[in-house]
């Protein structure tokens, strides 16, 4: 079996591709070769050993669906891919749109529908949470600087300025909000989300939905170390039934089909959980899940294969991850191949 995975950008803003592959490799009942689908010739996953059999450059979805489809078709003619696991938020719409055509090529995916993807998007999260009785910070969806004048309706500064796909800044006054708005709008487009700042500790959940409303598994983690980009660089598995119960509610309400990451803040004073974001894919820390006893990426592969996967019921707490900067040494011929041939 051949499984192609995107998101090998294991940088300081890491994509989930490498940990998804490592998780699948941990399941010895899956006999699979992995293929890396990459957008850049310097994605670190390309240069890692025992992660992929081969890597292929693919065009960014923003450059057009046809170009992406034709390239995937070309790669499939060589590799005969069984499964593609897209792991980046920004490519999901494209893969959802291409799913029927990829199915015709014999390639299976495990993705939500466009409607499901939309209802949890950052600009719609507030309404989704309100409708499902989940605590959520107030927000404004800003399409222009004019909208920033409504920030006082969120309460006092600081507030969080967020891109529709990625990036967030905590800002302390109107001037900082304007600067962050322009920076994010330039990079990720509109709308820009302005969210109430909730003070507390950050907790995340990785979950897997079967597409029928059942949560196949979920592992909760407390971030122990957060980088200046807001990325969890170390974390530990914890178990709080309240977190798992909210995650179950989200999976049931969306009938989610795929991996999901839920980001929470637990308030310091009341201990309540506020849902900050629902990310529509496995997170970059998903390798914690098999090590805690729930191999969610592997479970997804089993479901794609049509196998019955009973929901996980438990996992081990106190399992930690710590990321490390680790230089990979390679020969420039690897870069040459990927840059000139588009594969390596």
């Amino acid at each position: 079996m051949k499984i192609a995975v995107t998101g090998l950008n294991a940088t300081d803003n890491p994509g989930p591709g490498v940990p998804v592959i490592r998780s699948i490799q941990m399941d010895k009942s899956i006999d699979a070769e992995t293929i890396g689908l990459i957008y850049d010739s310097l994605e670190p996953g390309i240069y890692m050993e025992n992660i992929h059999k081969k890597c292929y450059l693919i065009p960014y979805p923003s450059s057009g669906l046809e170009g992406l489809f034709n390239r995937l078709k070309e790669i499939n003619e060589i590799e005969k891919i069984d499964i593609i696991i897209p792991t980046l938020d920004s490519e999901l719409y494209a893969f959802i749109k291409l799913e029927p055509r990829l199915n015709e090529l014999g390639i299976k995916l495990f993705l939500p529908t466009s409607e499901q993807l939309n209802i949890r998007s950052k600009d719609k999260l507030f309404n989704f949470c309100k409708a499902n009785d989940i605590k959520v910070p107030k927000n404004i969806t800003a399409g222009s600087v004019q909208d920033l004048y409504n920030i006082p309706s969120l309460g006092d500064y600081p507030v969080v300025v967020k891109g529709i796909f990625y990036e967030a800044y905590i800002v302390n006054n109107f001037e900082e909000a304007v600067a962050a708005f322009h920076k994010i709008a330039y990079k990720w487009g509109y709308p820009v989300i302005i969210q109430e700042f909730v003070k507390g500790s950050e907790y995340n959940v990785v979950a897997l939905g079967d597409g029928n409303g059942t949560m196949t598994g979920a592992v909760a983690m407390k971030k122990l170390y957060i980088t200046d980009k807001g990325k969890g660089w170390s974390g530990v598995t914890i178990h709080d039934p309240a977190l798992i119960s909210i995650s179950e509610k989200v999976i049931a309400a969306t009938k989610w089909k795929s991996g999901m990451e839920l980001e929470f803040i637990r308030t310091a004073d009341t201990g309540e959980y506020y849902l900050l974001e629902i990310n529509p894919r496995f997170p970059a820390w998903v390798f914690l899940s098999p090590n805690a006893g729930q191999n969610l990426p592997a479970a997804m592969v089993h479901m794609i294969k049509g196998e019955n996967v009973p929901p996980f019921t438990d996992y081990k707490t106190g399992v930690m991850f710590v990321r490390a900067a680790w230089d990979l040494i390679s020969d420039v011929s690897t870069l040459e191949k990927i840059s000139t041939l588009g594969n390596v």
Partner: protein
Amino acid sequence: MKKFEIPGNIAVSESGFAFSPSSGETFNFNELGASIYKKLRDNADPDQLINEMTDEFDADRAIIEKDLYDFISELKKFGLLKEL
């Protein structure tokens, strides 16, 4: 007699490292702190603890009492102890 319970199965290792599996918080006790914490977990009576420590450290009972209740108050603040 005041009784206490430790919420959320908090485990304390021999070295005094405590981990809360429900919140993910970690704490470091010194030797004495770990010993008192474990005794409170095992339903020790604070008055009895004060007597023991007054004898052991040859210190003023009032100071020991104040220190112990300060410590208990810190434990409660961090969610490490709940009064039953």
